[in-house]
């Protein structure tokens, strides 16, 4: 079977201005979404307490919500988990506050951290028992992250993505050329920004797993980009007589079949993860799904467009359009 027939010449390069416009627009939306509505930080980064509770019998969510809200635990979020049959709820709280801490904020950070974890969970348990009865529920999961750790994890997460990109820049520069490396990294930034934006717009929660997903997207999207670049590098030698833009277009078309094939198999498997998984894994799979689509798009349009643009700049400087192609390093 062949989806992309040999000799296919879709003129991707022609659409690069439109693609540029679309990319800039989507990135703009993503960047705006950083500020409004702003990222929905999970407890990994914001700190706080999260509990997953399963009830034996169906309960009213409003009753659960008002029970938890009655506790001095700051902002409360109550959310149903899974299908209609499961009586499982996710409770998210800030830390249990006592009146003393309210007064003395400065010294409270340390004190509140000391016992907050145990106390918040215990307070919630007491409340659940008194509202719904002892033994009517099971705590499936408790997560607590202190404010200090939350801050650290956030910084480290961003650092990890930046470090990965830096190392990749170095590797591609060594194996290819600097402009290829720059093109690849610009495509990566593009992918990460848009995936993050999609995450914010759909109101999904940022946590450690999402940073992992973003890093995976970095690796994955790069896979596609490198395969395309590799072909461009090869064709620079092979197709000396062909105009630079055309050569790039041929290269993209030649690897198109592979690009689509791998993206499809990966997309399908991650889709199973998305439909079967729940909670963090569902969000993780969502990020990957968006990333796979954007990554495939960016390796076709963004990364190679950059190479063409850079080449145009160079050629413009020298004012000889053909000289550049001859001087390609290999």
């Amino acid at each position: 079977m062949e989806i992309i027939k040999p000799g296919t010449r879709i003129n991707f390069v022609k659409f690069r201005s439109i693609a540029l416009g679309v990319s800039i627009l989507v990135i703009a939306v993503s960047v705006i979404s950083f500020f409004k509505p702003g990222p929905n930080m999970g407890i990994d980064f914001a700190g706080g307490e999260e509990m997953e509770v399963e009830f034996n019998d169906p309960i009213e969510i409003s009753r659960l919500r008002s029970a938890i809200e009655a506790l001095p635990v700051g902002d409360v979020k109550v959310q149903k988990v899974g299908e209609g049959e499961d009586n499982t709820y996710l409770l998210r709280m800030e830390e249990l506050k006592t009146s003393i801490e309210e007064v003395d904020k400065e010294s409270s950070e340390k004190d509140s951290a000391k016992g907050a974890s145990g106390k918040t969970a215990a307070a919630v348990k007491d409340k659940l028992s008194s509202t719904f009865g002892d033994g009517s529920y099971t705590i499936l999961k408790t997560d607590y992250v202190g404010p200090r750790v939350g801050r650290e994890l956030r910084n480290k997460g961003v650092m990890a993505i930046v470090a990965a990109m830096g190392l990749i820049l170095v590797y591609i520069t060594l194996r290819f050329e600097f402009r290829y490396a720059l093109g690849a990294v610009i495509a990566l930034v593009h992918d990460v920004l848009i995936t993050t934006g999609a995450f914010i717009v759909t109101g999904r929660e940022f946590n450690l797993a999402i940073i992992a997903a973003l890093l995976t997207i970095v690796g994955y999207s790069l896979n596609d980009t490198i395969v395309t670049f590799d072909r461009i590098r090869e064709n620079v030698r092979r197709l000396r007589r062909v105009e630079y833009k055309e050569m790039i277009n041929i290269s993209i078309n030649e690897v198109l079949s592979r690009t689509l094939l791998t993206s499809t198999t990966t997309f399908i498997t991650v889709m199973f993860l998305f439909f079967i998984g729940s909670g963090v894994i569902k969000d993780f799979a969502f990020a990957l799904l968006v990333g796979i689509v954007i990554g495939t798009y960016s390796s076709i349009f963004v990364a190679s467009s950059f190479i063409i643009w850079w080449e145009g700049l160079r050629a413009g400087k020298r004012t000889t359009a053909t000289a550049a192609a001859d001087k390609q390093k290999v």
Partner: protein, 595 residues
């Protein structure tokens, strides 16, 4: 080429056999019961792998806790001690001073002298008496400031953390959990990974309370029943079995053989359950140069709590035979009264230092001790340091903060494993079918490589002793989708070569050769991302990075080496040289033969 092929076939077979063998312990492991059902001859073998696939806490249920130790507080305590000692010693030695003040923010102690001479005398004295301190600010003034040397401050901090870790480990062991892990993380943190911990509140309460240290009289000595049974079948002559029921919920009860004569002296008969005024405790004792596990019978009702201990320090003196070290300690008023009574009435007997229910040391009482005492023995400097650390831990009030806590119930973890298996199964099925439809025979080969990949990843996880986490399962699912990529790259190349009219064999050779660096470049960059993640991530995320990295390496191996071997074997027979099933029609013009 031919000879080379032989080695490659051997390589593939060896890797496959190692992988399959290393998966055996996982298949024979009962995850519910937490024990291995491997036959004995396998377990006793030293060559065969014994590691089963570890499931992360998020899959098997349990508790993951990160606590931080307030090391600054330990530093302040050290300075407070220094300040007090300086005052005491200056009075003793008639060195004039105006005041000695603690500066908690700067972590310094400022001594104000009335004149130059006393300043010089004071400086000299401090330099000699406190080798770990040095003058940090205020050189050549009448108000110099002293602080711990940087190296000593760092050591104090790390010792404090280590000490708290040890105490926690001891308490956690009392819970009888399977394979708890308690590790230092960074400079001031301790990470506790407790699979199967079901009551997080109780665990937290237990590890954050201060250490319990007691001084108790030794009434008898012997060996634990368990120890005797492991060593010899028969109980030792002249010893009697007694039982102690631990009144606390978490503690373990003990049965020991204690010297019959010593038991008779205090009126305890055979096979008796100890009255509440006595208890048993284990410890190690140096007997004729050998460290041996011994059981102590202790007088519980006369115990003096270590909370009354103000301080304990190692002292290195030349008075001791062999230049040994002693541990000196001071008690508060209440402690001094009780301690004085206990030691005064029992000179010549042994006093056990019991930390968290275990005897750390049991020196002889040589004379009555009230406010100050010292423990002599043939201590090495290290031993003296350790013992004083143990003693201080009774008064250990360094704050412990819970920084991070993740508890997962066992049922939720089991659900996650089930869902993960389902996702992997369907993902595999769809990709396998898809590859066969698209590449026909070659697709089948890629599918074989994919299945091998799964086996290799699992095998490598078991062999490395790595842990499979929920994100790790996600990593495997992702690998299912991405692992075929290397084969797709090769097959697409082969197709291109076939279209140019090359023979199947030549196309395969060219296809593999040309795709090689593309595959490597593309995968090394993904590997970079995975390694960054491995370096940065903790717990579950690390699990994801591990499976992702293993998936990349193993897919490189299967695509570049394994599938190639299959083609090389195929092309050895002349008949089949001109046929290749890769999902396209082609006409090999070079050889002029039709398929």
């Amino acid at each position: 080429m031919e000879r080379n092929l032989k080695y490659r076939i051997i390589l593939v077979l060896v890797v496959l056999v190692v992988a399959l063998v290393s998966l055996v312990p996982t298949f024979y492991y009962d995850y519910k019961a937490g024990n291995s059902k491997l036959p004995g001859w396998w377990q006793n073998s030293s060559i065969l792998p014994a590691n089963h696939l570890n499931l992360g806490l998020d899959l098997q249920g349990g508790m993951d806790l990160v606590v931080s130790v307030d090391v600054e507080e330990a530093l302040i305590k050290e300075l407070q001690h220094f300040r007090q000692s300086v005052k005491d010693f200056f009075k003793d030695k008639n060195i004039d001073y105006e005041k000695v003040e603690l500066m908690p923010k700067e972590k310094l102690v400022e001594v104000t002298y009335p004149d130059h001479d006393s300043m010089v005398a004071g400086n000299n004295f401090i330099r000699d008496a406190f080798p770990t301190f040095r003058m940090k600010e205020g050189l050549n003034t009448l108000g110099p400031q002293y602080g711990l040397k940087d190296q000593d401050a760092a050591e104090l901090k790390s010792r404090t953390v280590e000490q708290i870790r040890n105490i926690m480990a001891r308490r956690i062991n009392a819970f009888g959990l399977q394979e708890p892990e308690i590790a230092l993380q960074g400079q001031d943190r301790i990470r506790l990974q407790l699979p199967g911990a079901t009551n997080p509140e109780r665990v937290k309460e237990n590890i954050t309370r201060t250490a319990k240290l007691d001084f108790m009289l030794v009434e008898g000595i012997g060996q634990s029943k368990q120890f005797v049974e492991e060593q010899t079948e028969t109980p030792p002559a002249g010893f009697t079995l007694v039982t102690w029921r631990n009144p606390t919920e978490t503690g373990q009860s003990l049965q020991c053989y204690i010297n019959s004569q010593q038991l008779a002296d205090i009126g305890i008969g055979e096979n008796a359950v100890l009255p509440p005024s006595y208890r048993l405790a284990l410890g190690t004792e140096n007997m004729e140069g050998v460290q041996r596990e011994v059981c102590y019978l202790l007088r519980q009702d006369l115990a003096v709590s270590g909370a009354n201990l103000q301080d304990a320090r190692p002292r290195f003196t030349s008075d001791q035979p062999g230049g040994g070290a002693v541990v000196s300690f001071t008690l508060n008023t209440k402690g001094a009264r009780k301690f004085g009574k206990l030691t005064g009435e029992h000179v010549g007997e042994r006093l056990a230092i019991v930390l968290e229910g275990r005897v750390e040391s049991a020196p002889n009482i040589q004379s009555q001790i009230t406010y100050r005492g010292q423990i002599e023995g043939s201590f090495s400097p290290q031993e003296a340091m350790d013992l004083s650390t143990v003693l201080r831990s009774g008064a250990l009030e360094v704050g412990i903060n819970i920084e991070e806590e993740r508890t997962v119930g066992a049922s939720l973890g089991a659900d996650a494993v089930r869902n993960g298996k389902v996702a992997i199964f369907w993902g595999l099925l769809v990709v396998v079918v898809f590859m066969v439809i698209y590449y026909h025979g070659a697709g089948l080969l890629a599918d074989m490589a994919l299945v091998l990949n799964m086996i290799f990843i699992m095998a490598a996880l078991s062999l490395l002793g790595a842990t499979l986490t929920l994100p790790g399962i996600a990593g495997i699912v992702l690998t299912v989708g991405m692992a075929v990529d290397a084969n797709v790259l090769i097959f697409e190349r082969v197709r291109e070569e076939l279209r140019t009219g090359k023979t199947p064999q030549a196309s395969i050779e060219a296809g593999y050769a040309k795709a090689l660096w593309t595959i490597l470049d593309a995968n090394i960059t993904t590997l970079i991302a995975a390694l960054v993640l491995l370096q940065w991530g903790t717990g579950p995320i690390k699990g994801f990075a591990v499976t992702l990295a293993l998936g990349i390496v193993s897919s490189l191996f299967t695509a570049i080496v394994v599938t190639r071997v299959v083609y090389d074997i195929k092309f050895r027979s002349k008949k089949r040289k001109s046929s290749l099933s890769i999902g396209i029609k082609f006409q090999p013009v070079a050889q002029g033969r039709k398929r």
